[in-house]
């Protein structure tokens, strides 16, 4: 699914050049849910953008969904991204599209499917994330948690094998953050979709199959905590 070996990354050029990732090794199995934590600025987002084929790999080895990302072309990365679902810290929905249309922007990436089929899939996904009653709402009419759930539906609508999420609960309160993460995990499980999620939020670490900690551009394995006892 994901194989990262000896990955190093630098920002800036010449004297301003600063190393952000140092010899990162990481493997994710199909269907595995991996959480990545670590202090702010340690390079988590950078790792995510490299795995998500949003940046050119500088040094080391990255293989995602069977495709080598070293020396990949713009076009190869764009095509690979169609098979990776992404969920952002902000929901990044298109403001001018309704919830249903936003999700359909995801299913529109599927080849060989008629308009109706894609629309029906979009509706299915919105029902799956519990927004069946909000199909025609514009993003500004939805709450933060609802928007993030639309974003999850959109990411899953393109049938990805890998889901990348960068602090998806950062803008949410505890209750809806928990709901969003549980939903994410459940749907990913059903789709046999692997998840790599960056989070700061100690309350949601228990959804992980595996927990990976990053410090100053290096990875350290960490034990998965027990679920919080229900109050």
């Amino acid at each position: 699914m994901v194989e990262v070996e000896g990955l190093c990354h630098w920002y800036g050029s010449s004297e301003m050049r600063r190393q952000v990732l140092q010899q990162v090794n990481l493997t994710i199995q199909p269907g595995e849910v991996v959480l990545l934590t670590g202090p702010s600025g340690c390079g988590k987002t950078t790792l995510l953008t490299l795995v998500g084929a949003l940046r050119q790999v500088q040094q080391g080895h990255v293989r995602v969904l069977g495709q080598d990302l070293n020396g990949s072309s713009r076009r190869q990365r764009q095509q690979l991204r169609q098979r990776i679902g992404m969920i952002f810290q902000g929901h990044n929905l298109l403001r001018c599209l309704s919830a249903e249309q936003n999700v359909q922007m995801g299913s529109d990436l599927l080849p060989n499917l008629g308009y109706r089929a894609r629309r029906d899939q979009a509706r299915e996904w919105l029902r799956a994330v519990g927004l069946g009653d909000h199909l025609d709402k514009l993003p500004h009419g939805l709450s933060g948690g609802q928007k993030q759930r639309v974003a999850i539906a959109r990411a899953l609508a393109a049938h990805p094998r890998l889901l990348l999420a960068d602090e998806p609960t950062a803008a949410l309160d505890k209750q809806s953050g928990r709901e969003v993460v549980d939903l994410l995990k459940r749907l990913a499980r059903e789709q046999h979709c692997a998840v790599l999620m960056v989070t700061h939020d100690p309350r949601i670490l228990d959804v992980a199959d595996r927990l990976v900690q990053m410090e100053d551009g290096r990875l350290i394995a960490a034990p998965v905590p027990e679920p919080e006892p229900a109050l």
């Binding site: 098979r83 298109l94 001018c96 599209l97």
Partner: protein, 395 residues
């Protein structure tokens, strides 16, 4: 029928109409854009309309002549400064086997006194033998009989109102008299010719009356010679023969050549064409600036969303296509009101100025093409902003 399955396939492959939604979900901005485009379109319609209308109007009278070829003096530069040439030359053309008939025509601007307020104004006077064919309109021959009486004129009822209520008075049965160059004339009938660029009105007289009104005209001199050919003869061949046989003190033109001669004068010897083309260019530039501003800020505002789409795996050309389609939609939506307003303004211009300004297909297509270039060019410029959308920066 074979097209239907293809269409159905295309229809089922359609995607979310992103361009349309981007435009319509911001109605205020769309309204500004459409107002700008329509304004530019209307300005172009008006400027081109006036320009073409003025050029067309310069040959209102020329179009009416019943003739195949026209003789004029090479010293004539336009309908407002026609020079004379010997009438003999026109008679000589009768020697050509293909010439069926001729009509000598006197042509000059004279001062007409308004019978109501006694002001004077320049009017075009055509003098001819009342028995000769002059215009293709067959109704003229009967009316022309009255010109056999001295001092009678046929007045063009389409002349501008500044010449006085001549037509109304005549229809009421009143005797309408006026003065031309100090000589008394009486209106013996009405004709409908139309104003042209060089003449605000027209009168027809017999050659004899014409000589009286303009006593300085050298005897035996005319300004225009009409030559009608036998059916089946080739005008180009006859022109060649006449040019070879006639001295160089006359020019032989086809009727079309006579009209072009007049149009070319106004086109080339005056700033009219330049002024109106400049006006249209201003409209075009203003439109470009407005559309560019709108599309550029539209792309800028949605830059994070475009970057999101790129992160999702949409291709850059697909997103460029979204902006291009926005430009296309703006062009279509902005053109329609401009076209409608153009129609209305043209009819207003026609009634106010009597210029023959009509919405013809070439001009409608020209203005649409310019609006299309305006919108697509602006979209192309706005697209450069899309290059700034970096999907790596949105996490």
């Amino acid at each position: 029928m074979s097209g239907l399955p293809g269409l159905a396939a295309i229809w089922s492959r359609r995607k979310i109409p992103l361009s349309w939604l981007l435009l319509t979900r911001q109605p205020a901005r769309l309204a500004v854009a459409l107002a700008g485009i329509s304004f530019a379109g209307i300005l172009m319609f008006m400027q081109f309309g006036f320009r073409d209308g003025l050029f067309d109007a310069s040959i209102t009278v020329h179009k009416l002549f019943d003739t195949d070829l026209v003789l004029i003096s090479p010293r004539s530069s336009s309908s407002v400064s026609m020079a004379g040439f010997p009438r003999r030359r026109l008679v000589q053309t009768l020697a050509d086997p293909d010439v069926a008939g001729i009509t000598p025509v006197h042509w000059n601007l004279v001062l007409w006194r308004n019978p109501k307020d006694l002001s004077t104004r320049s009017i075009l006077a055509l003098g001819f033998e009342p028995g000769d064919p002059l215009f293709t309109d067959p109704g003229l021959a009967a009316k022309a009989k009255v010109l056999n009486q001295r001092g009678r004129v046929l007045f063009d009822e389409l002349s501008r109102p500044e010449f006085g209520p001549v037509a109304e008075w005549f229809r009421e049965g009143r005797t309408v008299e006026s003065e031309i160059g100090g000589k008394r004339v009486r209106v013996g009938g009405l004709v409908a010719l139309g104003v042209s660029f060089g003449a605000d009105g027209n009168i027809l007289t017999s050659s004899e009356t014409y000589q009286q009104l303009l006593p300085n005209t050298p005897p035996g001199s005319i300004e225009v010679g009409l030559i009608r050919l036998r059916p089946g003869s080739d005008p180009a061949v006859v022109i060649k023969r006449l040019k070879d046989s006639l001295p160089k003190d006359v020019n032989v033109l086809t009727k079309q050549g006579f009209m072009d001669f007049e149009k070319d004068y106004w086109r080339n010897s005056t700033a009219i064409g330049f002024i109106f083309t400049l006006g249209a260019a201003m409209g075009f530039i203003v439109g470009c600036v407005i559309v560019y501003q709108i599309l550029y800020s539209d792309v800028s505002d949605h830059l994070p969303e475009y970057a999101t789409l790129m992160a999702m795996g949409y291709r850059l050309p697909t997103l460029l296509g979204v902006v291009a389609r926005e430009g296309l939609l703006l062009a279509l939506l902005g053109y329609l009101p401009a076209y409608a307003a153009g129609q209305g303004l043209y009819s207003l211009v026609r009634s106010a100025t009597r210029l023959p300004v009509y919405m013809d297909t070439p001009r409608a297509v020209l203005v649409f093409s310019l609006i299309l270039v305006m919108c697509m060019g602006s979209a192309g410029m706005a697209m450069r902003r899309l290059g700034d959308a970096d999907p790596a920066e949105i996490f």
